[in-house]
Subunit: 332 residues, 2 copies
Amino acid sequence: MRTGERRPTLADVAAEAGVSVALVSIVMREAPGASAATRQRVLEVARRLDYQPDSRARLLRSGESRLLGVVFSVRHPFHDDLLTGLYDAADKQGYELTLSAVTPRRDERTAIAGLLQDRCAALILLGPLAPTAELATLADRLPVVVMTRAVRHRAVDVVRTDDSRGLQLAVDHLVELGHRRIAHVDGARWVASADRRQGYRDAMRRHGLEEFVRIIPGGSGEEDGARAARLLLDDPPTAVAVFNDLAATGLLDVLRRHNLDVPGDISVVGYDDSSFSALAHIDLTTVAQDIDTMATLAVSRAVERVAGAQVVHRETVIAPRMVIRGTTGPPR
Amino acid sequence: MRTGERRPTLADVAAEAGVSVALVSIVMREAPGASAATRQRVLEVARRLDYQPDSRARLLRSGESRLLGVVFSVRHPFHDDLLTGLYDAADKQGYELTLSAVTPRRDERTAIAGLLQDRCAALILLGPLAPTAELATLADRLPVVVMTRAVRHRAVDVVRTDDSRGLQLAVDHLVELGHRRIAHVDGARWVASADRRQGYRDAMRRHGLEEFVRIIPGGSGEEDGARAARLLLDDPPTAVAVFNDLAATGLLDVLRRHNLDVPGDISVVGYDDSSFSALAHIDLTTVAQDIDTMATLAVSRAVERVAGAQVVHRETVIAPRMVIRGTTGPPR
DNA sequence: ATGAAAGCGCTAACAT
DNA sequence: ATGTTAGCGCTTTCAT
């Protein structure tokens, strides 16, 4: 049962060990300036008392926070993966992470406000929806690193995937298999859509397939993909590169319901390598983003800014890679 | 560009407004004891200076933390939904949430330790793996609410779904459709597996179908479901209730590859209503847990314990419900 | 209604 | 190597 007593403080440990609080502080921080014997004794007492340093007091006093605030969205499989990488990277750099989620009923502004009150040293925002101006205002107060989207502002660092290149990889893969009539279902108004569309166009031109360029309005949801598929049915191409995995599954579903064989009649490529795309059911060929590299870079950028590096705007664009699964093959 | 200046403090606002810090504190906390005129002026200055209270200092001084620590796992779709509900509930009760994730490379103990240093008032653990003894030790230090699994210890509150009832609902649904030969693919060593298995047995007995009881060893992954499906192929039942949605998709995949029609030849029920189970592709009938109710209760429990209520161990078991989609139908 | 002063748990100068 | 002192930004008595 829980004892009603307050948790032990530095002073408690100091009293018990018969030394000053300052000395205990030194030991707990593993700072130089304590004899091995003292160190051992203090550590022993701390463990016995089950002492836990109060990070809030620590941060308050030391001024510097070594705390990185991360805003992410639930229901975004890609964000989960990014979080995993960010924890690893932060740990390596000696920083802590504090998370704030965006949910269907908790908007981005609320999520950010919470982190601001926690006095994070910097913010890492995963695919923020806020307009550039708002992000810039934020960056006025503390270092801000944006991931997975572009932001053209000198105070905001960006780490994202080369989305244009991603679609080019998809087209290259399909062309290699022998496809020529390759369509693209785009992401409508989503931030990354323009880049991916451009990548598609460039790749088609590069392969001398300009006459086969065909862009279908899509979106980011399953329904968007399904709608696009219906637009495609009259005159199906032999391959489609879709804006993302979710839209691709919607498209796949409609194609199969109309007895089109995938990849026999038509090949399909998604984007993101979402967790479900590896399910045996779906087995979707897709464009993957290099999550670990992105996470490591984002933390480095944040840490450098915190350390006061007078850097100008940096945008780091990471190369994506193909993950070839079962929805692509040679045309009949 | 970011000005190198530190963020404004209460003292800055006080100086600018020409009042004492104590008064500004009163205004910021919306506490009684300030004239309307002063209140307005201080608020105006605070907004102009873009003042943000420092939650660390606030908590440090006031002693009480109104901060709930939540440990969740990435890659667990169900947890995302739970987080959404928890934020809503905490908000309503005037509490803040601080999140700590378990990732493939960051274990539960680390996740919990982080929250302990943040001086949370209580902990809410989503499906913790720690043994009861460890959770009990933790509950010795601060209120602990465990979700989605059972813990028999008087200091630990539990909020979970009635998993036995869940499987009973699944069997009831199948019996109602006319099925008699209903098999169950279980969850091997997973915590909830025993309850679900028992629910299956009870329901079969209740319907006088004891002779058809057939339990196939399964697990929680897609592969486990696929393996179970292969065991079923020699002598397929007309319906299967599977431990969870992921295993169910694995099973579905194998069945379809062997030209069994779902639900024509065989009906399939999953568990959890995971996000992907609603995909048109999968369209899985499943047992859903009542997320909002669970979240609300978990926060209430935590808050009551924080408020010092001398409650004994409470386990709240929530009723699940069926979500009927396309993988179940009458037997041929 | 307002202000002065103490102190939450800790770290960082500066002593010794 | 160890102790003393002074705050970090805030809330909370207790004055006025």
